[in-house]
Amino acid sequence: MRLRAPVSTAVAVGIGLLLLASLLFPGFESMRDRILGWAILLAAVAMLLGLFNLFQVHFGRIRRGENIVYSFIMLAGLLTAFIITLWQGRAGATANWLFNSVQVPIETSLMALLAITLTQATVRMIQQRNDLMSLVFAGVLFILLLGSAPLFGVELPIFTRSITPYISQTLSVGGARGLLLGVGLGTLLTGLRILIGADRPYGG
């Protein structure tokens, strides 16, 4: 339908201008809260749609015979947790047991493995890469590691009290401010482009 794109663009631009006006002028709070409520509801529906899409993809793989074991395990866990939570509620004993005994240990173990993997990657980086940026990365890493905590119980004051605080509280803050400023400007520009209809992420 040819009118779909102009209509959707007009709706998006109009609602965006209304929300912007609600932040600048009083009297639009109730309307703003209602629209935000719609957005929150749509976000929840989007999560359900994502869940349904995940189920569909893996069910299709099982039908086609692709990675049957992994897809079957994933679908079994998904359906089990979903049904039990619906049945017992989010505070149910079985639902909490599944969460605390399966999901949390798995994700925590992966993070622990990440520490080992990063250590080995650092070793190999020192072995194979000899350029300037690698040396800078390795040097900063050593300084932060030596200043984060006392090594084997022994504190190195030059790192813990001087070099590491300077890097983490001055240099890194400067970089973080620049990053946040860039993010803010990018967000502002994205909002303006959507308000004038230059960007139509809704597919109009």
Partner: protein
């Protein structure tokens, strides 16, 4: 042979061209009368060679300058008399060298020369050039044309066309033009032509029939008979054409004239005393065996480039073609795809092939030799980290130095804010923690929540992460179950707030509306004691965000900090601290206090109770030390492996 002959060539010619042709014919006749009887046989090849070299520059006899005529007269006086001068000028073969090649010579224009006198491979100048190798299919298709034309001579049918249809002796073709061979004064050429016609290699000792006492051989006698038959057939066909009126007069006139080459055949047995040409033995040895298959253009069939072959401009060269050459589609030459490769070329190709194969093979990378032990290195690093972290738990030592208070001033702000809370004040705790970072967040979150519970705060939990509510319950059950408020369940868990930043904005504006229960739900938390007095976010005594992710921390700060008079406090992971610190240092402060990571937990513990007992901190200290040592030793070990072969190669070079 097929050619399109106009009915009357003179009819469509312009007047200037007709005049030019008339002058040419007169000049040809005059030149034939003067030059043919006195021309020596030695001059004939030279003249032919000149014609082949520069045919277009041959002047007309009537247009010769005086100096050239003088030279010609001197030459004629010095030349020996011809053995058999022709008695009739009409029987003399016209010298093609004296004619202008650009002017087309029509059949019958040359006196005594008829179209049947041309064999297939010797088309007259100005006619359509046909391929020397006759196509049998084409011959079949041209039967009708052949019937309309005078029949070819018998000698061509019997010996030339039937015996050697596709092989012409190049030497014969170049030297023994039938036009020249038909001249009665050139016995050598006639003999060579005849011998060439009958395959001179197989019969090198052919002698002239009339020049010696030996009788003519059978094949030559048959040739002579055939020639006579051809003359008879030609005359009969001329009578037929004359009766039917199909041939024009000028052509009939040409046909009725006597043919000199026929007379040459007739005179062979009477006047010729030609000695057979003998090739020296060394020349015969050098002559390739299949030389007869090589086709070379003769003087008569070699048309000049870009010479018009039909129409009123036939014979003229240098004219614009009626159709471009690019549209003349012909059959491409059959090129043999078989490559003749010598032994040396094969050796070079093999060398190149070997070099290319070596290029495709990956060079031996010395780092690949250490890729095998990398799995061992993983196990060694994992074992070292686990062992180092377990040392404080195994030995019970807690002697690791604690962080300095002045190094983390933001944590003190959190402590002060909690200390200043009124009793039983509602405190909103946003618990946005991922399960992966639960271990890191557990320590600082426990310290701060424990402090809040000690101050009898009414905790209200909410999370923008789906896993947040479950982790809150887990944290309270594992670490704070001994606290009375937790044990009695006087806290509120609002659960998961879906919608991201939009939901946060809505929650900041109206917390009850954003988290209102479903209609019909029995327990409404906003009706209970800690929340019944809360209408806005600022009604909470303290808003504490416990976040392990940067995006969630930034969203809480940006969406809610402006609506909080008392500001926002945060417990974050170590990775969130660098990005949260700018909000901490801003004016006015969006973030009032920050406790980050294990060091922040240890620091807060020291600030709060002054306790020095912290097994987690010691484990962290030992594990960090093991990691630094592993990186140093591993890097040096691999570096030494890399240096070793280079040093050995340098030693070998030295």
């Amino acid at each position: 042979m097929s050619f399109h002959e106009p009915k009357d060539p003179e009819e469509n010619l312009p007047d200037w061209l007709k005049e030019l042709r008339r002058r040419q014919r007169e000049a040809e006749q005059g030149a034939a009368e003067e030059a043919a009887p006195e021309e020596s046989p030695a001059e004939e090849p030279a003249a032919a060679a000149e014609d082949n070299a520069e045919p277009q520059e041959t002047p007309l006899p009537g247009a010769e300058p005086d100096w050239l005529m003088e030279i010609r007269r001197r030459h004629e006086k010095e030349a020996p008399p011809r053995p058999q001068p022709p008695t009739d000028p009409d029987e003399v073969e016209p010298d093609i060298s004296d004619t202008q090649p650009n002017v087309p010579i029509q059949p019958g224009e040359i006196p005594g020369l008829e179209d049947d006198a041309f064999p297939e491979e010797t088309a007259p100048i100005g006619w359509d050039a046909e391929p020397l190798i006759a196509d049998p299919d084409e011959d079949d298709n041209d039967d009708e044309e052949a019937s309309a034309l005078p029949p070819p001579p018998a000698w061509l049918d019997d010996s030339g066309a039937s015996e050697q249809p596709d092989a012409v002796d190049p030497f014969q073709s170049a030297e023994q033009d039938p036009l020249e061979a038909a001249a009665p004064s050139e016995e050598d050429d006639i003999e060579a032509w005849l011998t060439g016609d009958a395959d001179t290699e197989e019969a090198p000792a052919v002698e002239s029939a009339g020049g010696s006492e030996q009788p003519l051989p059978d094949w030559l006698a048959a040739e002579m008979d055939n020639a006579d038959d051809a003359v008879l057939r030609s005359e009969s066909s001329q009578r037929l054409f004359r009766d039917t009126g199909e041939l024009p007069d000028w052509l009939m006139q040409g046909h009725t004239e006597e043919r000199p080459h026929v007379r040459a055949f007739e005179d062979l047995d009477e006047t010729s005393s030609i000695e057979p040409g003998e090739l020296p033995s060394w020349l015969q040895a050098l002559r390739p065996p299949d030389v007869e298959k090589i086709v070379r253009p003769t003087r008569s069939n070699a048309l000049l480039p870009d010479q018009e072959v039909a129409g009123p401009l036939a014979g003229l060269s240098g004219i614009l073609p009626a159709e471009p050459k690019v549209v003349r589609i012909g059959t491409p030459k059959a090129v043999s795809g078989r490559l003749q490769v010598s032994e040396g070329q094969q050796r070079h190709a093999a060398t190149l092939n070997r070099l290319v194969a070596e290029e495709g093979r990956a060079a031996e990378d010395f780092s690949q030799q250490v890729a095998g032990p990398s799995r061992i290195l993983n196990w060694v690093i994992a074992g070292a980290l686990l062992l180092a972290s377990a040392i404080p738990w195994l030995t019970g030592s807690q002697g690791a130095a604690r962080p300095q208070l002045e190094s983390l001033p933001a944590a003190v702000n959190v402590y002060d804010a909690i200390e200043n809370l009124p009793v039983n004040a509602p405190v909103l705790v946003a618990f946005d923690v991922e399960p992966a970072l639960y271990g890191e967040m557990q320590a600082p979150a426990t310290e701060v929540l424990s402090h809040l519970l000690a101050r009898n705060a009414r905790l209200v939990f909410i999370s923008t992460q789906p896993t947040g509510p479950g982790l809150v319950e887990r944290l309270l059950a594992d670490n704070l179950a001994i606290e009375p408020a937790i044990a009695t369940g006087t806290y509120v868990n609002l659960g998961y707030l879906s919608g991201g930043m939009a939901a946060l904005r809505a929650f900041a504006g109206d917390p009850q509306a954003a988290t209102s229960p479903l209609p019909g739900q029995a327990n409404n938390p906003w009706d209970a004691t800690p929340l019944n007095a809360v209408e806005t976010l600022d009604d909470f005594g303290l808003v504490l965000v416990i976040s392990s992710e940067t995006e969630q921390a930034r969203a809480w700060i940006e969406q809610t900090a402006d609506s909080l008079r008392n500001g926002l406090y945060m417990v974050a992971s170590a990775q969130v601290a660098p990005l949260a610190r700018p909000y901490l240092d801003s004016h006015p402060q969006s973030l009032r206090g920050l406790v980050s990571g294990l060091s922040g937990a240890a620091h807060y513990q020291i600030v709060r109770s002054g306790a020095q007992s912290n097994p987690g901190w010691d484990a962290f200290s030992y594990g960090l030390g093991a990691m630094v040592v592993a990186i140093l030793l591993g890097g040096l070990y691999n570096r030494l492996i890399h240096i070793r072969p280079e040093a050995s190669s340098e030693d070998a070079d030295a």
